[in-house]
């Protein structure tokens, strides 16, 4: 095991996958969240229920989707429903245990920005926008955010509040893991193997508090890495 090596993206994905319990119902965004959810389903959580906002419920993709609307998701789903139905009957009604979000910025309270960097009317960077995030963040039992950590992405206060941090239970980054304290402020609770706290502090745009119970992420197992790498080779493939 000690001879294994992995990239920051790989350990971030595997740490995210571990957040999912078997038989969780999970609302999955495309990209790293989808990769993590599919790793979980192939390892410790075979009964994980994947819901994609395109309307596929219980998708069991044999390859890794490139987009949220890949045909593979429809072909392997228990049910395909309309987009209004997925948001109203499934997400809003509180049937989803875990929401999985990415972000451009996150702040110490767990609020997320995927809208603009800079003033709304004259932004320096126009980001894609809200998508499903505001209601995923408000309706799922718990919310996991996956984001690369840097002083640019971890800010004291997001420039635009696209979705709220109230239900954020865990933030998984390429450096470690953060969880909110009772007041809702994100604390560092785990570092990945080989990452020191000073590195994480330097990559955080606020005075980061470290949990008294700081732990280290267990290294990826051979199985986890094999599953992840094999899966990524299939991205966007049509079966």
């Amino acid at each position: 095991m000690s001879s294994l090596s992995w990239t920051p993206n790989e350990i971030m994905t595997i740490a995210a996958a571990r957040q999912l319990a078997d038989a969780d119902v999970c609302f999955v965004g495309i990209g790293l969240p989808s990769t993590a959810a599919n790793v979980a389903r192939r390892t410790h959580a075979p009964n994980l229920v994947l819901i994609y906002e395109s309307g596929t419920i219980g998708a069991k993709p044999r390859t890794l989707p490139l987009s949220i609307g890949d045909g593979e998701l429809a072909t392997t789903a228990d049910a395909v429903v309309s987009v209004p139905e997925i948001f109203n009957y499934w997400l809003q009604a509180g049937r989803v245990d875990v929401g999985f979000l990415g972000a451009a910025e996150i702040d110490r309270g767990g609020d997320i920005n995927t809208t603009v960097i800079g003033p709304y009317d004259h932004p320096q960077v126009r980001l894609p926008g809200a998508g499903g995030a505001p209601e995923i963040a408000a309706s799922c039992g718990r919310v996991i955010v996956v984001i690369r950590q840097s002083a640019r992405t971890f800010v004291d206060r997001v420039a635009f509040r696209t979705s709220l941090g109230e239900r954020v239970s865990t933030v998984i980054t390429d450096l470690g893991e953060l969880r909110p304290n009772p007041a809702g402020e994100l604390l560092l609770t785990r570092v990945h193997p080989g990452v020191d706290v000073a590195t994480v502090r330097a990559a955080t745009g606020w005075g980061l508090t470290v949990s008294d119970a700081l732990d280290e992420t267990a290294p990826p197992t051979t199985e986890e890495l094999e599953v992840l790498r094999k899966l990524e080779l299939t991205q966007g493939q049509v079966v």
């Binding site: 906002e53 395109s54 490139l66 949220i68 309309s82 987009v83 109203n88 809200a130 499903g132 966007g236």
Partner: protein, 276 residues
């Protein structure tokens, strides 16, 4: 009812119209959008939950005055450079934005399709989104007093979608991921549908949505009319093109040259579906 692409766009898309070309990764009506560009429409308010490469092209060609949307990106790839250039640098012209969450947009179409002026949801709460649109409001439940969110109905002048099949009467069938297309069509004043093929009879299929001819304005046979998106059962998504678009669209002149070659310079006789 069943007509050519040029005729369908000419008759149904006017300068200044509010136009929704809907689709959720699957069944994006690229050919119809290209015809809008060729016909030189201007001042459109474009509507879509997930504006992607097609909307990048429409915006970059100066077709749009305003965009109503919830997520604008190149799925799985990254930014839309023409969209960003319009918002960040007003090129080729300023682009007014009205943005929502997916749940909000979906419910705005539902209200439109239902003939109601608004829909109710739990959404937007605590976010900065409502500050930038007048189409989101708070509303009290008359039974419990609970505060919820109202969104105004979306009723495009015209909705355009791509589907797999139509029969000779113009009844349309689509399947796979059907997204918000039914609602977008039913919310609109007029509706244009391009299809992979016209068949004698629509065989019932699992998961298929059928839109009767009498709620549609025009149906056009355009095989491959969703490319580089796909039509479930007919084609697969051209992921390589979506990836290539990132570099094609990064530079203004390269973008314009590509549009000239691939869209504007296509003679009528070469058009997708022109023989239909």
């Amino acid at each position: 009812m069943i007509t050519s692409l040029a005729e369908a766009i000419k008759a149904n898309v006017k300068d200044g119209d509010t136009v929704a070309l809907e689709g959720f990764t699957h069944l994006i009506p690229f050919a119809a959008g290209h015809e809008i560009i060729r016909q030189g429409r201007r001042d459109l308010t474009l509507v879509r939950m997930t504006p992607d490469v097609l909307y990048d092209q429409l915006i970059g060609m100066g077709v749009a005055r305003k965009l109503i949307f919830s997520w604008g990106g190149n799925p799985g790839v990254g930014s839309l450079h023409r969209f960003r250039d319009a918002v960040e640098h007003d090129w080729p012209q300023p682009l007014e934005l009205e943005e929502h969450s997916h749940a909000g947009m979906a419910n705005r179409y539902v209200a439109g399709a239902s003939g109601l002026p608004f829909a109710v949801l739990r959404g937007y709460s605590g976010t900065d989104l409502p500050a930038h649109t007048k189409n989101v409001a708070r509303i009290a439940c008359p039974f419990t007093g609970e505060m919820l969110t109202a969104v105004a109905a979306l009723q495009p002048d015209v909705t355009i979608i791509h589907a797999q099949r139509a029969d000779r009467q113009g009844n349309v069938q689509l399947w796979g991921i059907t997204g918000v297309q039914r609602e977008a069509v039913l919310a609109a004043e007029r509706a244009v549908v391009t299809v992979e093929e016209i068949v004698d009879r629509l065989e019932p299929l699992p998961g298929a949505v059928v839109l009767p001819a009498w709620v549609l304005s025009a149906v056009v046979e355009v095989p491959g009319g969703a490319h580089p998106s796909y039509a479930h059962g007919y084609s697969t998504r051209d992921n390589a093109f979506y990836q290539a678009w990132d570099s094609i669209s990064r530079d203004r002149s390269q973008f314009l040259s590509w549009m000239q070659d691939q869209v504007l310079g296509v003679a009528d006789s070469q058009l997708e579906g022109s023989s239909a």
